[in-house]
Amino acid sequence: MAENILHEVTQADYKYGFTTDIETDIIPIGLNEDVVRLISAKKKEPEWMLEYRLKAFRHWLTMKMPEWAHLKIPEINYQSISYYAAPRTNGPKSLDEVDPELLKTFNKLGIPLEEQMALSGIAVDAVMDSVSVKTTFKETLAEKGIIFCSFSEAVEHHPDLIQKYMASVVPITDNFFAALNSAVFSDGSFVYIPKGVRCPMELSTYFRINAINTGQFERTLIVADEDSYVSYLEGCTAPTRDENQLHAAIVEIIVMKNAEVKYSTVQNWYPGDKEGKGGVYNFVTKRGICKGENSKLSWTQVETGSAITWKYPSCILQGDNSSAEFYSVAVTNHHQQADTGTKMIHLGKNTRSHILSKGISAGVSNNSYRGLVRVGVNAENARNYSQCDSLLLGDKCGAHTFPYMEVNNETAIVEHEATTSKISEDQIFYCNQRGISTEDAVGLIVNGYAKEVLNKLPMEFAVEAQKLLQITLEGSVG
């Protein structure tokens, strides 16, 4: 009977599964040097950018898919994917020039691009398939010297900054997917916060895959100069499709002295259907560096989507007294698989990191936390505290924890705690007896469990994320 209730609560449908009927410029499937050149040409890129792509591509050819994750990844045929798709009305422009279909799409996703209707205090870069469609509040931000634009625009208008910082945290040789992304990446966002500036609004990028059989490879680069602050949010959805879609992104963050960056993600790519058909394969390399003294980086992620998630937002704590946080809620249901966690690399003195991971598994899904805490020889008094909790809904799902620690300085203190719990039938019945339906009870319990992480999200998104958790688990518990 537990199974029945479990069943009921996890059967909700993915509500972002619609497709947009829009004319798309899509290149033929396949991947070789000519394709890399074609992408670069389509984006009218300078020579140095093309060289960078080609170097990455050549390196990628020598690499193999990583196999260490606790994931069953069906073979991916990299020649059967198209590496570039753009809505015909190309390039970011003023609002009246943006195709109404696109505006409608983003409206439907709850991301209005008209500034007067926009969520108050949030600037958005909207990316559909391979290109940025529109960035809001660009002018308002420019007054403070803040650069917030699509990656392509940054390559064109701020080549110095791009050349200085791109690949400085995630080199092209870093891993298989990072190399692939570096070769074929399409678009994404670029943020630069100048010295001493506190960004007055939340910045956010919304990624949407629309075209069929295309991969999405976006790049985000955030540079927070000395004494600056920015809070950044990333959201993503994709239509319901029977085929799997590949998504391999790179996010790089550079935090200078006394600066602070908060990066939040609500990842809701299409997870596949209840039988495990379709869904996005999400292979993401996210890494930041706390470069200067007293710098601070926090990653907050709510992972509810994707058929497969492979993702470890990490931080290199280079500056003395710098600190990093990783707060994560990862939910898997049905046949979803997630292998996610973080790496905290302590190099500077008195560096601190805090890891809080909350896994929730339902259905026949598999949910793994994988985390590395490394303390370098010079990291005097480094301090890490990790807590990894798993919540199981039902008894056919799996939760796994893989903590790795490498401590090379004896003044460091590294602590790890892990718990596993289950939603019991008695808890559900107790709620039922107070008039609360099983679905709402699961929502209540799961949100309670994930509260500490959800509280880290910007207000507007915390509420969305709460609903999302409940929807993801609809039909799952008893």
């Binding site: 209730i5 808890q427 107790y430 007896q433 107070r434 008039g435 609360i436 339906s437 319990i445 309670g448």
Partner: protein
């Protein structure tokens, strides 16, 4: 308001209730006593729709509705409340959030708008006073780390919040200290009126000094085998259950 006729129920294929019949009218207080394992908590579970139990025979009507047709949360929203013998802990879910959700579910069921924040807080304060519940408890997660007695008091607090028409108190007295017993019993009495009814499951006459029953039933081996007034409880306290068993088996 409640009519139970010839009720049979199983758990894991084992028959626990074996033809139980009981009628409760508005305004009445019924005490149910009986030896351990007789099926008292089972009766409470079956009435509230705990899916672990299977009803194999008999009928239950509540305010004219077929109770057995309703889901547990519908029964709750129809006005049945159970003070659990063993209240569970729900980590991470605050009492405030839990109570507001419960109240709003009940209001939705009755086609009412959600309760306003101020009304809710006022209600919380009023009912906390009724059972003299510590503020600290309501700011914590549901029953998490509560002592045995605190959990029981919290059950009666929730009962006060939800204002049910039929309350079933399953050994609410066990675990309460002498003062708490009086406070909780007084709370129950204050909530009592001519339209609601209470079923009190207990092992001890002491509680019945405070909550004075109109009827005392003895539940033995899945059936109600004897019914009397409050004096029956005194007699049981004095003589135990052996004489009842002998009567039944004779």
């Amino acid at each position: 308001m409640l009519q139970i006729k010839n009720l049979h129920a199983n758990i894991n294929g084992k028959e626990i209730l074996k033809g139980l019949t009981l009628t409760v009218k508005p305004g009445e207080i019924h005490a149910i006593m009986g030896p351990n394992g007789a099926g008292k908590s089972t009766l409470a579970s079956v009435l509230t729709g705990n899916p672990a139990f299977e009803v194999t025979h008999g009928s239950v009507s509540f305010h004219g509705k077929d109770l057995l047709e309703l889901a547990p949360e519908q029964r709750a929203n129809e006005g049945i409340f159970l003070s659990f013998q063993y209240p569970v802990e729900i980590p991470g879910v605050s009492m405030v959030n839990f109570m507001r959700t419960a109240i709003n579910e009940q209001r939705k069921y009755r086609n009412q708008d959600p309760i306003s924040a101020t009304d809710f807080l006022r209600l919380m304060r009023e009912k906390k006073e009724l059972v003299e519940m510590d503020n600290k408890l309501t700011s914590r997660s549901v029953n998490e780390g509560f002592s045995g007695g605190e959990k029981k008091r919290n059950e009666i607090f929730q009962m006060a919040m939800l204002n049910p028409s039929l309350s079933i108190l399953d050994e609410t007295d066990s675990g309460l200290d002498i003062d708490a017993l009086r406070i909780v019993a007084n709370g129950v009495n204050k909530l009592k009126n001519a339209d609601n009814a209470t079923i009190v499951i207990t092992h001890y006459q002491r509680l019945l000094d405070y909550i004075v029953p109109d009827f005392v039933h003895v539940l033995y081996d899945g059936r109600i085998v004897k019914t009397g007034d409050k004096n029956l409880a005194l007699e049981l306290e004095d003589k135990g259950y052996d004489w009842i068993k002998q009567e039944v088996e004779a």
